[in-house]
């Protein structure tokens, strides 16, 4: 290919997008008449653009809404929690920012709980696999379990798997700590301190009201945040 062909070939996308000045377009068309390689390239570029326009957007393999709903609720609750100096409150309707009243239906809460438990057990499973699998899979079949069973399961996970998962992650972090910059380490430590404080408060509240479903979910959610933060930070040490 000649230098001239190289030059014009680099302009073929602009030609295709009708972004060339009239004079340039005329020159390029003149070049195309005598350059088979550029003509072929132009045909291929047209095909690439056509295929891009026909791509189909498939929905995700799993429903992401329960986790989104949970995170939204957690965010709203967290902000309120902070604004009230750490007072944990139970309820199914929370006054969010901008004066919004954020409400969930019972089915939405149940779905969020199912997902939460699945994620918690999935994270524990993932840690046990040494971070080799990116796709979290529940270690136990919880998707069809009723909400009450899920809460019990959450409690079991919290009591049994959680501490060992946290310990494993902390070991990974200690080994890889030097690979993170000091600002990141400081930020993570600050977040961990806040999460630990929230966990302590939730546990205290639960000791006075052990059957409170909302507090149970709040505790598991906060513990999941800690796992998630540690997991993400540990992954950064491997980059």
């Amino acid at each position: 290919m000649t230098d001239s062909a190289d030059t014009w070939r680099d302009r073929l996308s602009e030609y295709l997008d009708e972004a060339l000045e009239d004079s340039e377009r005329s020159e390029l068309e003149e070049h195309l008449e005598g350059c088979e390689e550029c003509r072929e390239t132009l045909v291929e570029l047209r095909q690439v653009v056509a295929r891009a326009g026909k791509l189909v957007d498939a929905p995700p393999a799993r429903d992401l809404w329960p986790e989104i709903a949970y995170r939204i609720r957690e965010t709203e609750e967290g902000e309120r929690h902070e604004s009230r100096a750490g007072t944990a409150e139970a309820g199914s309707s929370l006054a969010g920012r901008h004066g919004r009243s954020f409400t969930f239906s019972v089915p939405q809460l149940a779905a969020a709980a199912v997902t939460l438990v699945a994620l918690s057990s999935g994270i524990a499973w993932q840690i046990a696999g040494g971070f080799s699998a990116r796709q979290a899979e529940p270690a136990v079949p919880v998707a069809q379990a009723p909400a009450q069973t899920n809460l019990l399961l959450a409690s079991r996970i919290a009591n049994n798997d959680y501490e060992s998962a946290i310990a494993q992650l902390e070991r990974v972090l200690n080994v890889g700590r030097d690979r993170l910059d000091s600002a990141t380490v400081r930020k993570v430590e600050e977040k961990l301190a806040l999460i630990d404080k929230a966990i302590d408060e939730a546990r205290q509240a639960l000791s006075a009201d052990p059957s409170n479903a909302y507090l149970n979910r709040y505790l598991v959610g906060t513990m999941r945040r800690k796992l998630d933060l540690l997991r993400r930070t540990a992954a950064l040490t491997e980059l």
Binding site: V49, R71, L239
Partner: protein, 175 residues
Amino acid sequence: MVPDTDLDSQDAALAAEGDSGAFERLYRRHVARIHGLARRMAGPDDADELTQDAFVRAWQKIAQFRGEAAFGSWLYRVAISVILGHRRRLAIHRERTAPEEWNREGRPSHERSSEIGMDFDTAIERLPARARHVFVLHDVEGYKHHEIARMLKITAGTSKSQLHRARMLLRATLA
């Protein structure tokens, strides 16, 4: 039948008041497109998480949605901001650990494939990051070069050259 854009406007207004049911309906109508964007921009491993992040961010900002543009366009901008922010955070960490250009998480650009007959979506995922972002935003999503330049903090000229680079690399998948 009520057009989706009207339904979106109604549900966005309800969601801004805290109606999670309305927000869930918005999620159901738009999740495939947002997930597709996340998958193509950041790769399949991060697509679920980024989709969640985008909808959580949209919920946090929905009071700012004034209805001048379609809700889908607004949501798309939010998602792009989330995805590019994720990319920038990763890049900061890689600067010290990997001097070569990375096309996406965990995969250096020299691995980009010229495999004949590769799935088109996979081929897009394997493009170098900048070329991939420009290609997805321009050829898949229909943004103009000046808009892409603003989003990616590059010049319109760079956007054009990266688009051409991406298209040239993707020709290999046509066979």
